[in-house]
Symmetry: C2
Subunit: 330 residues, 2 copies
């Protein structure tokens, strides 16, 4: 209701120029229709998720547009991975500030297209709008699992092993670096932490193995401590984690050695986009083997018990007092 | 990355308090998981669409929250209606400014819930975030059609009748009233125009009849002139509309009589959320009967021909010169 009016609207131009190449599925109709269609894979449930990222909240204004596009897509891909689902496609709602240029859009679309191809997750439709506020990228993604097999947060049972992929805490430390933390670190370690924040590495290759082995799973987006607490709550169990077993990168170990209080950032900082799951003891060995063959690092960090809440135990078996469990924008 | 950190994050509280009651489908898992699941209806294609509304662009800051919720949902419902699809559910990405109160959220959720029930379109999942910018509501909606029957924009053929539901131009005139247009109008007429802008009335009851009769269809969101032009382009046809046949409300007729130049606002202003479709001559009578039995007003406004572009003809059969075809935020 505020914009100029043109014969060929700017939105049509934007879509045809930058986003049509991403709409490779015939049901997307080249983004020339009100909606898209897809025949659901036979015998499958659809898995549905949505996540938005907002300038100044989830990324810095000077983050490269191609990386933002990847991040927006990957935070959703990570949800599908944790649910054991294969990506089918996504819808994009792109809310742009007035100063976005064609070259920005071109880089953004190129990043999005590269990941859409890598993850087999084409664009099915979208909406572009202007805002006087910050860039806001909302993605709704849909995937598929064999009917009835979506891996849930509820399902962890006493005795299950708690496992996590990759390393924890890197992205949260990366944010602190972006904000000027003056840690003495080799360039490589800095780069590692920064890149872990900038571009998540979702674990979609693990989806089928999760369906076969995990009793419960979720992706770690708001911090391991808070996310494990949520998993325990809906599973109606407790979990004990041995902090000494947490998988940390060399860079995170170096930072933690110099500043032990950062353990809380590592545990509660979020943006990990690793998978947290619980696995029955009898399936742990087979799950580890699956992880190894997929080259996805898996670490057993603790155990599920009766009760409630997640405890993080130090070397002496004493619970760490954590003042916060996770990040929240609220 | 900016917010405070709490044991029970504010987002969890928001979701549990305001949005969980909308998640009536068992596959939504009470919004306690990373994702939702749904078994697609057998023999159906899924129809996917997304539309966002942004404060200051698509609505006024003082619009009631319950009405905003309805508008956000209904602009998507209108897309499904035009495609002949039955709504199955939606995902909500809600990006909130800092000054949103619990009572605002409560009204917003109540409006959303009322429409979710009315249209049989439950909430499957969502994401809430903070923004320093305006309220932004992105909805991704999915529906179903019997396989292969989604009504497309492409498909209009020379000789088809051009038809439209309801009345055209009311919402665009409503915006002008909101901005202070000093037309002399009865209170009832003012209210009619204002409400047509505030809360669209999507034509979902017509979906099955569209599948059975329409050769092409779309919803009118950016203005009849521009939207018909788009339909003609992808159908590779031309259309001629007799302006005298346009269905106008009494209120719109009164405004137009006083200020004839507003015809362009009526034709190109948008926000109608009526359905524009083309119907083969042999099916027109049956379609009219279906509309009548559903109590959806249908008006034949013109005809499809070979060629390209949409022409709007005055009483003498001469094309009106339109300086703009549709609204655009770009």
């Amino acid at each position: 209701m505020n914009g100029p009016r043109n014969r060929e609207t700017g939105e049509d131009r934007l879509i045809a120029r930058f986003f049509k190449p991403l709409a490779s599925h015939p049901g997307a109709l080249g983004l020339t229709d009100d909606a898209a269609f897809i025949a659901p894979p036979p015998g499958c449930d659809l898995v549905l998720t949505t996540d938005a990222i907002v300038g100044g909240m989830h990324f810095f204004p000077d983050d490269p547009p191609g990386q933002l596009a990847r991040k927006a897509l990957r935070v959703n891909l990570s949800d599908l991975a944790a649910k054991g689902a294969r990506p089918l496609g996504f819808l994009l709602s792109l809310v742009l500030p007035g100063d976005v240029s064609d070259s920005w859009l071109s880089s953004f679309a190129a990043g999005l297209q590269a990941d859409a191809e890598t993850y087999g997750c084409p664009l099915f439709g979208g909406d572009t709008d202007r805002t006087p506020g910050p860039l806001t990228i909302s993605i709704a993604m849909f995937g598929a699992v064999p009917a009835g097999t979506m891996v849930r947060r509820a399902g962890a049972r006493p005795g299950d092993r708690v496992m996590v992929t990759g390393t924890i805490g890197d992205a949260a430390l990366g944010v602190k670096l972006r904000r000027g933390a003056a840690w003495k670190l080799p360039l490589e370690a800095r780069e590692h932490l920064l890149s872990r924040y900038l571009v998540p590495q979702p674990r979609n290759e693990l989806a089928a193995a999760l369906r076969d082995h995990a009793s419960a799973a979720m992706d770690v987006s708001d911090g391991l401590a808070g996310d494990l607490t949520k998993l325990c709550r809906v599973s109606e169990v407790a979990a004990s984690i041995e902090v000494a077993k947490l998988p940390l990168s060399e860079a995170a170990r170096a930072v933690l050695a110099a500043e032990p209080a950062l353990l809380e950032t590592i545990l509660a900082g979020g943006d990990d986009y690793e998978i947290l799951c619980t696995v029955a003891p009898g399936k742990a060995e087979s799950f580890r083997a699956a992880g190894a063959s997929l080259k996805v690092p898996l670490t057993e960090i603790g155990v599920v018990a009766e009760g409630e809440g997640a405890r993080f135990l130090d070397g002496g078996g004493n619970p760490l007092p954590l003042s916060h469990l996770s990040y929240s924008h609220f």
